[in-house]
Amino acid sequence: MNNTFFVFSNKNIALALGAVLAVTLPSWVGDQYQLHLAALICVYWILIAGLNMVVGYTGQLSIGHVGLLSIGAYAFAILAGKMGWHPAAAVVAAGALGGLCGLALGLPSLRLPGFYFAMTTMAFALIVNELVLAQVDVTGGGIGLAGPVFPAPFDSPKGFYYLAAAMALVVTLLSWNIARRMWGRGLMSIRDNPVAAQTVGVPLFRVKLVVFVFSGVTAGVAGAMFASLQSYITPDTFVFELSLFFFVCIVIGGRGSILGPFLGTVILTVMPELVAPLAKLGNFFYGLLLLAVVLIVPEGIGRVFELVAERLRPRREKHEAITPDLPRLVRAIGCRR
């Protein structure tokens, strides 16, 4: 597996091109807003890469990760803004708190079957919003809090973009590391058949919990970055629809892949900006997309590309005409003649 990494396959060339594009992005984007969007994609991806482990690989349909995002964002805004911590320390603390809350949420809810789990996580997101609204003196209630900026090299949009991109890269590498080895196989086996997974010795609950806590940490870190990027957070920022957005990104990208959800994130973030009517339709569009993907290609959009590629360039079937070895046949049958 390690050897294939350096091979100049189409995929690796595309990845290298993507990396070059990502590094040089601040010098060729048109305006600050597009740079903001790029940073937003990176921040979303920090969360989605973690959530992908839970939804895409383990098949636990958590639709409440916006609650963890909100916790991370508020932790960062309170620690770095109100209490004057160094932002880097606040990001670490937000990640730790996100992981803790993920543990607290995962301990009871991961024991539950599919629909129960989805409903519990959704309720968790609602509860977080409720508590944020209720604790006015800590969180500012409905008025919200200012998200502090990072110190010197990262205080410009360009610097922040590089910081977010670097974090996204680290999270991607982490999740790739989980996915490609034994852990990833274990996770997928839980998704595809929990009973079979258990019989071959995958500790179901522990594996699910570890992955869920990992997604909690990434959600907390993403929340911290999100608070800094948006520069002001209110409970209205963390609506349930945002959770749905994360979820749709993974499902349309394809479950059980890392590149697919990443492309899903990029496309779904950029598309409403390019096509104005879609922005108005908003969640209707996400719902339609989710329904279409589930009904037509449950494997994700990546599968469509594969099918199209196969149609355009059909895989060559090897033609090997089998010529019978006649004399030998004659010898075998013909001894009686």
Binding site: L61, M122, L126, E130, A134, L244, L288
Partner: protein, 286 residues
């Protein structure tokens, strides 16, 4: 204090009615649809539209609301359930119903507006009647009637028995010549009509509001899980417990922790008695 009890009971009965809708769908398809709450939302919104905007008499409005609910139930089955059940992946129906629920909610938000709009009074009654107000008694009466009617339907009619047969063992029912696909469509239409009725009856309590769907989906599910999946009486008990708990909690602590308390109830019940109060053990899809 009496007002707290009655209002809690009324909203609890709306949750119970939603739980009944879950039950009817679950009996034939083993699917817990996220669109369940949205059916009731549609009943309320279209009821208000028929009566207030189109000036129809409320009986026609009620029928219209139920018809819209039934149509949406049918659409749910055709769009989100049928193909997915054939595929046999356990999680896909969750995604497809979530997608449909999102589309309906957003569609109603675009068409109807995001503000809660008032629901018409059905009977001439003074606003000062307190606990005897129709907005409390309509949902309570309707939910009780729905449980009673469903019991009669399951016990006394051929189709009710077919529903039961399918909920016991769909393959065996199919082997005995039951057209399981048709029965499933019928159960979705029936549950849609019931959901529309519940949403219409509780309209004066909840107003015609597009975001009601998700709340009802969640709270109806909590009522269902507390009472026991598959049990109609359990749904009534669970709904009443949840409504009363919420009402007293907001009476004593203020209304800020509604959802926290509801989920707390769910967690306590799931930890102590995972199959719910009246649920049978083998029904729980673990």
């Amino acid at each position: 204090m009496l007002t707290v009890i009655i209002s809690g009971l009324a909203i609890g009965m709306l949750y119970a009615a939603t739980a009944l809708v879950y039950n009817v769908m679950y009996s034939t398809s083993k699917v817990l649809s996220i669109t369940t709450g949205h059916i009731a939302m549609l009943g309320g919104v279209f009821g208000a539209w028929f009566v207030v905007t189109l000036h129809l008499p409320w009986v026609l409005g009620l029928m219209g609301g139920m018809a819209v609910g039934a149509a949406f139930g049918w659409a749910t089955e055709v769009l989100a359930i049928r193909r997915v059940l054939n595929r046999g992946d356990e999680h896909l129906w969750l995604l497809s119903t979530l997608a449909l629920a999102t589309m309906v909610q957003q569609g109603v938000a675009l068409w109807w507006g995001t503000e809660p709009k008032p629901f018409p009074r059905l009977f001439a009654q003074d606003f000062g009647d307190g606990v005897l107000d129709q907005k409390y008694w309509l949902p309570i009466g309707i939910a009780a009637m729905m449980v009673f009617g469903l019991e009669l339907f399951y016990r006394r009619t051929m189709y009710g028995k077919l529903f039961l047969a399918m909920s016991e063992d769909a393959f065996a029912a199919r082997a005995r010549g039951v057209s399981t696909d048709r029965i499933r469509v019928m159960s979705y239409m029936l549950s849609g009509a019931l959901g529309g009725l519940a949403g219409f009856a509780a309209g004066q309590l909840t107003f015609a509001y597009f975001a009601l769907g998700m709340t009802l989906t969640l709270n109806g599910f909590i009522a269902l899980a507390v009472g026991g999946l598959g049990s109609n009486i359990g749904a009534l008990i669970g709904g009443a417990a949840l409504g009363l708990l919420n009402a007293f909690a907001s009476y004593w602590f203020g209304g800020e922790y509604q959802q926290t308390i509801a989920v707390g109830l769910l967690m306590v019940v799931l930890l102590l008695k995972p199959e719910g109060l009246l649920g049978s053990k083998n029904v729980r899809p673990v």
